[in-house]
């Protein structure tokens, strides 16, 4: 219990420090609004279009893969914790090892499948390839 009180206390301190810095800064800093100052930065040009743009599908594929493997690590944690105590308790090694190998093996097959279908290969959209800044020599 006291562990969680201490963690909660550090969470409170961790929030108070940035909020305190923001407050001190709000008291110190000047405010000089000028036209043009608050435009977003786009290499000095006037910003065009919105930012809620379509982006590479690859980010989504990677996120999907992550969910699978993240759950795998969660399920592996109990196994790694009991592994050594169980072996010291006299349980034969293979009895402990094969369920984990089967579990990781199934996911390894999944990774091979994702690899072969190109889920972890970065796709280049034809649009991005055709909009290179290099000019055609002709």
């Amino acid at each position: 219990m006291s562990d969680w009180i201490a963690i909660g206390a550090l969470a409170a301190v961790g929030l108070l420090i940035p909020i305190g810095m923001m407050t001190v800064s709000a008291l110190l800093r000047p405010s000089v609004p000028e036209t043009g100052k608050s435009t977003t930065y786009e290499s000095g040009e006037t910003p065009t279009g919105g930012t809620k743009i379509r982006f590479n599908i690859q980010y989504y594929m990677v996120a999907l893969l992550f969910v699978v493997f993240d759950i795998e690590t969660v399920l592996l944690f109990p196994w790694v914790v009991i592994y050594r105590p169980a072996i010291e308790g006299g349980i034969p090694m293979m009895d402990l090892l094969w369920p984990m190998l089967a579990f990781v093996g199934i996911l390894a097959i999944g990774l091979v499948w994702a690899w072969r279908t190109g889920a972890v290969k970065w796709t280049r959209s034809p649009r991005a390839a055709s909009r290179k800044t290099e000019r055609d020599p002709n």
Binding site: S2, I5, P30, T73, I87, V104
Partner: protein, 357 residues
């Protein structure tokens, strides 16, 4: 774990103040948390405005800050005042309050990770706030809250560079989180516990003796392969070179922090440094024997400081020495290289532990 657990920092304060029960726990926890928070802040204060410049200057054959104070050290308070007194420019169309919460969340999440880190003894005080049985899982959970903050900043800034930076940050953290945790699991197989003090204690045996000098069973020496894997994944997780593509100043300006100024920018900067030190602290606990080192236990904290500053130096060396990887290379290194190697390491470690125990 045969010996009695060491008294934790909040209990020490409660006992010194003579307050018992729950009020003692709360008061002790708050004071201890403030001390730990300020120790970490002091590290970042020295690292950010001073050490980073000095180290980069040494690598690139220049002279850095040396005008104010001895070795230019007084640049630290000067920079703090200067940065906090900058005007805050709120760009058009930002998504508030998301835009304001992101810079609070990043340093808070990184600081929270230090709750379970055993920083060793300083005199009679054991500088560790909490020692729950799930310590190692908890510290990874806290550290990964940072990704949420980076996405918030990237999405809310109404800037295309920020958006790209935020997306890159998530893709990178997702790709390297799994190898990081799976490699840490190989340490858990050796130690048989997730408790941070237990992992440190399991590294105190003697591996072998050279010329009367005992080499301890630090996991970096027991399993150097896992150490290299963990170090690499850690660099990606904290977004340092060669894996600094979420910021990539030469490609996407500053990534998620492009539109931030004044205290908000300082908080991002600070949060990144706290994250570097948290990465160093996790590395020290899991692979470098925590706060152990030659000499009495009461100077353990100094060894801990040496180890995490060693890691900081390493990140700065990498910054000076390695070119940045591209986003497609990053994804392929992560999913095709690191992931496979980390699972191979896990299985191998399990077999080796099964044979030698």
């Amino acid at each position: 774990m045969g010996t009695a657990p060491a008294q934790l920092f909040p209990e020490f304060i409660a006992e010194t103040l003579g307050i018992s029960g729950v009020p003692g726990q709360v008061v002790g926890a708050l004071i201890a948390a403030a001390v730990i928070g300020n120790i970490v802040l002091a590290f970042t204060g020295v690292a950010g405005p001073w050490a980073k410049r000095k180290i980069t200057a040494a690598f690139t054959d220049r002279i850095a800050v040396d005008r104010i104070g001895p070795f230019g050290l007084l640049i630290i308070p000067a920079a703090a005042v200067q940065l906090l007194a900058k005007e805050l420019i709120v760009p058009e169309g930002v998504d508030r309050p998301t835009w304001d919460i992101a810079p609070i969340l990043l340093p808070a999440s990184a600081l929270l990770g230090f709750a379970v880190i055993p920083m060793g003894h300083l005199g009679p005080v054991n500088l560790q706030l909490a020692d729950p049985e799930v310590g190692l899982a908890l510290v990874f959970a806290f550290a990964s809250i940072a990704s949420v903050s980076l996405v918030m900043a990237g999405y809310a800034s109404n800037n295309k560079y920020s958006m790209l930076g935020g997306l890159r940050a998530v893709a990178q953290n997702l790709a390297y989180e799994i190898p990081l945790i799976v490699t840490a699991m190989s340490v858990v197989i050796f130690a048989g516990t997730l408790q941070m003090s237990g992992i440190v204690e399991a590294q105190q045996d003697v591996l072998f003796t050279i010329a009367g000098f005992d080499i301890p069973t630090w996991y970096a020496l027991v399993n150097p392969f896992a150490f290299v894997l963990f170090l690499t994944a850690n660099m990606a997780e904290i977004g340092r070179n060669p894996f600094d593509i979420p910021e990539a100043p030469t490609e996407i300006v500053g990534g998620y922090q492009t539109e931030y100024s004044s205290a908000y920018f300082v908080l991002f900067y600070l949060g990144e440094f706290v994250h570097i030190f948290l990465g160093g602290a996790i590395l020290a606990v899991t692979f470098l024997g925590g706060a152990s080192g030659p000499g009495p236990e009461s100077i353990g904290f100094l060894w801990f400081v040496v180890k995490i500053w060693g890691f900081f130096l390493f990140t700065q060396w990498a910054r000076a020495a390695f070119p940045r990887v591209r986003i497609d290379q990053l994804i392929e290194i992560g999913w095709k290289g690191m992931l496979v190697l980390s699972f191979a390491n896990l299985v191998l470690t399990a077999v080796i532990v099964g044979v030698i125990v």
